[in-house]
Subunit: 153 residues, 2 copies
Amino acid sequence: MCADDASASNFDLERFLPYRLNHLADRISQALARLYETRHDLSVAQWRVLAWLHHREELTAKEIRDATRMDKAKVSRAVQALEARGLIRRRPSPRDQRVQDLRLTEAGRALLAELIPEARAWEAELVAPLSVAEYRELLDVMGRLERQLARLE
Amino acid sequence: MCADDASASNFDLERFLPYRLNHLADRISQALARLYETRHDLSVAQWRVLAWLHHREELTAKEIRDATRMDKAKVSRAVQALEARGLIRRRPSPRDQRVQDLRLTEAGRALLAELIPEARAWEAELVAPLSVAEYRELLDVMGRLERQLARLE
DNA sequence: CCCTGTTGGTTTCATATGCAACCATCGCCC
DNA sequence: GGGCGATGGTTGCATATGAAACCAACAGGG
């Protein structure tokens, strides 16, 4: 990449990738959160847990934590709330007494059957201005940035 | 864009743009925050205020709020903290007694002279795997997503 | 000129968050 | 098989956050 003027002059936040990315992600996240929260009273963390359980059938809190990089406590609280609402079920794992296996209940599955199409439709509207190639490339570039980030940490 | 299978089956968070974007932005933001916080004891909000003042010389809190879409209270608190540390100066605007004009102090300018090159260098490392064209296209695509978002809201 | 509705900014409050301490269990080495 | 460090998960705490209440100061129509 270009390593142009490294001085402090003419620095523009609008062209600073971390800022732009964060800004965009925040706005998208907020807009979607309104969907989850106002219509189904779910926090983003709760939605993520549900979505992962939908995808992988049975998981432990640890696996969700690894997949999402959410805080330990955040996952724990999301799981508690979801169980209290009867959307997921947890039972002690036969393999390890510390661990609890998480699964969707029927109610959870039913909620996702509503929620996922909504989320998909919303995403489709969002990315409507992009061509298929652009969309694919965006995901690809993001993947590379993530890998680079892992290298830097 | 493709409007494929809208059902709830085979939904994969890893391919869901809002999730991916948020995840990436979070990680980048956290990594950068470590830079600001550990080395200069600045919150992200404070850094943003400084950066905008660097860019635009004199601003009011309202203008910063508009530019960054940060919460009113967040801007207010960041400004207070920065003034307490002597990095910015605020004085009542001659035009409107409610408003205060914000400016960098010498100390603030000096801090930015350190901080900006660091931030730039970090960004350069982050985007090292991207070609110039890819980088440009990324910013372009992000801009289009932002515009689309504005339309959806 | 008031009176009223609006706006910039601060403060308060209830909630969300992350870190760290904690508890129980596990795996392992002696 | 009994310690002992590591690990999954929960909880307590201190901080950060956003929404809403609040306070001045403005604008402009009567």
